[in-house]
């Protein structure tokens, strides 16, 4: 019997078994700088994204190596979810990459636990943020330490099919009230015989909730890392979203449940809806998936001039606190953030260039979707607010919690009130 069950556990605990050997072998490897001969150093650099982004990033890294022949950069990338799983394992094994991408949702997790180097000190001081918007630059600071610098700027926005909305007599680009948006989505749904809906049900989206809360003068998280809104706020938000769904303006429950963060897998990308809340720099990806010409618009709002949108660090660059090559790592980070040629190579794939001088240069010569994005953000610039504080540890889990509790509502298995109280209870537990 011992044998039969022994085989069973081997697989059951496989996930754990992966970590431990890494832990045993990795610790020894940590700290021994690789390729130290002749002053040459090798650093590892990881990021998340698609093949297209990989090509752009590799070109930028090649340029860095040409200008810094003594530094060799080994790169690797994965899709967003896989990226975090891999990074967690590598970090636990004591061998995190030297330079890495970080998302604002995980900054507290990694920075707060001592994985990332404080760039205000040591080698990190070589990274110049002189030409970066100070409010954007401040987003990489958590509990007084600069754990990361923004690599690009984007803003939460609505991606939509202009033809469908024009036919319904609405122009989201000019700004709509929530009421106008609700009517427009209903008309879009009806025009298509309800086979596709006007919008993707935004009750599951934490970004949309955050922007809506900002329109109410609230925030998702307080600087102390607690929820910045009450059960009543969430109830009103879910009632708003449910109104869209009940009026057949928003996607039905099973379409909403198929939502996946990648534009290709989302209802708008699959042509099941005609608008969706996302980030403006995803416009080209949505357009490619959907096939129709799409456009980007500000959030609907009932307070003219206040859309709740903000300058968001679409992703960060950070240096590992355990890296033996922090100087070379900081050099790479500085290069990626400030070099004008890099800005030209990577374009708006991750969002706008963080360096304002580089951005101004690029804006002048931009075409196509790039131009759309530059124009969009340039028009919004004066209205954009400061980014919210760094979300606390456990923010990644809160996003999933929001999604599945709202699904209970969408499928009619739970009332809005019950779902709200479940969300609040579990979120407070998760953040404590």
């Amino acid at each position: 019997m011992g044998r039969t069950t022994g085989r069973g556990t081997g697989r059951g605990a496989a996930a754990l078994a992966v970590v431990v050997p890494l832990l045993l072998t990795g610790v020894a490897a940590c700290g021994s700088g690789s390729g130290a001969g002749d002053g040459d150093v090798t650093i590892t650099f990881v990021w998340w994204g698609s093949d297209g982004r990989a090509n752009l990033t590799k070109k930028a890294v090649e340029l860095f190596q040409r200008k810094n022949p003594k530094i060799k950069v080994q790169t690797s990338f994965s899709a967003y979810a896989a990226y975090w799983e891999k990074l967690a394992t590598q970090t636990a094994g004591g061998k995190p990459p030297d330079v890495l991408n970080v998302d604002t949702r995980y900054l507290a997790e990694y920075g707060g636990r001592g994985v990332l180097a404080d760039l205000n000190q040591g080698a990190g001081k070589a990274i110049s943020l002189a030409d970066v918007n100070p409010e954007l630059a401040a987003t990489g600071v958590y509990q007084g330490k600069r754990y990361a610098v923004p690599w690009a700027q984007n803003t939460p926005a609505m991606i939509y099919d202009p033809a469908a909305f024009t036919a319904a007599g609405a122009d989201p680009a000019q700004g709509l009230t929530w009421q106008q948006y609700a009517e427009a989505t209903r008309k879009v749904s009806a025009a298509g015989g309800f086979s596709a809906r006007g919008t993707t049900d935004f009750g599951i989206l934490d970004t949309a909730l955050e922007v809506w809360l900002r329109q109410q003068g609230k925030q998702f998280y307080t600087p102390a890392g607690k929820l910045g809104f009450t059960a009543d706020d969430l109830r009103r938000y879910w009632q708003l979203a449910s109104g869209f769904r009940d009026g057949k303006g928003a996607s039905p429950a099973d379409v909403t449940a198929s939502y996946n963060t990648s534009p290709e897998q989302s209802p708008l990308g699959k042509k099941l809806t005609s608008s969706e809340f996302a980030y403006d720099n995803l416009l080209p990806a949505y357009q490619k998936a959907n096939g129709k010409p799409l456009n980007v618009a500000p959030y609907p709002t009932d307070k003219p001039g206040d859309t709740g949108q903000y300058r968001r660090p679409s992703m960060f660059l950070a240096v590992s606190a355990r890296s033996a090559q922090q100087e070379a790592g900081a050099k790479l980070v500085d290069f990626l953030v400030n070099d004008a040629e890099v800005g030209k190579i990577v374009g708006t794939d991750r969002g706008l260039a963080p360096n304002l001088k580089v951005r101004a240069q690029l804006a002048g010569s931009a075409t196509g979707n790039d131009k759309t994005l530059y124009d969009f953000e340039a028009a919004l610039e004066p209205k954009l607010g400061a980014a919210p504080p760094v979300p606390p540890k456990g923010a990644g889990a809160i996003q999933k919690l929001l999604q599945r509790t709202y699904e209970e509502v969408a499928f009619g298995r739970m009332s809005v009130d019950d779902a709200v109280s479940r969300f609040m209870t579990e979120a407070e537990k998760g953040l404590s």
């Binding site: 019997m1 556990t9 059951g12 605990a13 996930a15 754990l16 449940a257 996946n260 599945r404």
Partner: protein, 320 residues
């Protein structure tokens, strides 16, 4: 295991011990251990070591980045008293095991009986039915399944043609677990092949004798095939139950990597993975892994205990 072992091997071993002089036995040991070394190293470094570490971690709040802190039985009590998602994952997994295992065994036995004839095309059909289980826990099979059962997918369209309008199976909490059960049942090739081998061992003369005595096909199945096949059924039951408890890939892929709509596909292993690698609660995940081990051990033990009531071993003397 103690119940089902045949008496022969221990007897034979004892005989061997008595025949050979003790001195020689000891002399052969160094070579044996030399040959065993690679396996031993692997077993200790990759299986025993990690298991010991994970047992230790199950009593800590290890988050993968900072040193683990001792929490005693905290993880275990939290699981059963304060974690609704854990209980949901237990429920989903139990439903999956209780529905998919009997279904899969029934289907594989029926198909094995259909193929247990000497008709020409059987070789082809055996291969064709076995092929899906070769894909096993593959991501590709799960992706195809998702494409088949999603909104606007072929299954939707066919059902709609017959007037039954269904939502996206994989995205609706009412159907999504059923679609994963179907995928599990569809991959019935491995137990089918074992059943086929078992059916070949049922002596034809027993069936002939029973037929002469007037027993119909069902009676012969009930009183000859099933008892003769019971050791094979037993083996398949144990293996498939263990497999089902550990199901991960189909739920991960079909459920969008997050436990499906409203946690309808939150399999135990999926939740374990999420807690460990996405929420950084590796101590809690370790505790969950050990509970799973204990449950599989207990379930297997129960199956073995009840085996003597329904598993019949053909006695060598009787047949020989």
């Amino acid at each position: 295991m103690t119940i089902v072992r045949t008496p022969d091997p221990p007897v034979a071993a004892e005989a061997a011990v008595r025949v050979r002089p003790a001195r020689r036995r000891r002399k052969s040991q160094p070579e044996a251990f030399a040959f065993l070394t690679p396996w031993l190293l692997g077993a200790v470094a990759l299986t025993v070591g990690p298991m010991v570490v994970s047992l230790y971690l199950s009593f800590t709040d290890y988050d993968m980045f900072t040193a683990p802190g001792w929490v005693g039985f905290g993880n275990f009590t939290h699981m059963f008293t304060d974690d609704d998602r854990y209980l949901q994952s237990v429920k989903v997994t139990l439903v999956y095991v209780l529905v998919s295992v009997p279904l899969k065994l029934t289907v594989s036995l029926l198909v094995a009986m259909l193929l247990n004839t000497r008709r020409g095309a059987n070789g082809f059909y055996r291969a064709a039915f076995y092929a899906p289980s070769l894909l096993g826990a593959s991501v590709a099979a799960a992706l195809v399944w998702r494409a088949l059962f999603m909104g606007g997918g072929p299954v939707n369209e066919v059902l709609a043609f017959f007037g039954w309008h269904t939502p996206s199976w994989v995205d609706d909490p009412r159907f999504s677990l059923a679609s994963i059960v179907l995928l599990g049942v569809w991959q019935f090739g491995a137990p089918m092949v074992i059943f086929l081998a078992g059916l070949k061992q049922v002596p034809a003369e027993l069936h002939e004798a029973a037929a002469i005595d007037g027993a119909g096909a069902f009676r012969r199945f009930r009183h000859i095939t099933l008892p003769m096949l019971s050791p094979v059924i037993f083996f398949n039951l144990v293996m498939e139950a263990i497999h089902a408890f550990q199901a991960f890939t189909p739920a991960f892929v079909i459920g969008g990597g997050r436990g499906g709509p409203a946690d309808a596909d939150l399999f135990y292993t999926l939740y374990l993975f999420e807690v460990g690698f996405q929420d950084f609660r590796m101590g809690y995940a370790s505790a969950m892994a050990w509970v799973l081990l204990a449950v599989i051990a207990i379930v297997t033990a129960i199956v073995f205990r009840t085996a003597k009531l329904w598993v019949f071993y053909d006695d060598a003397e009787e047949r020989g």
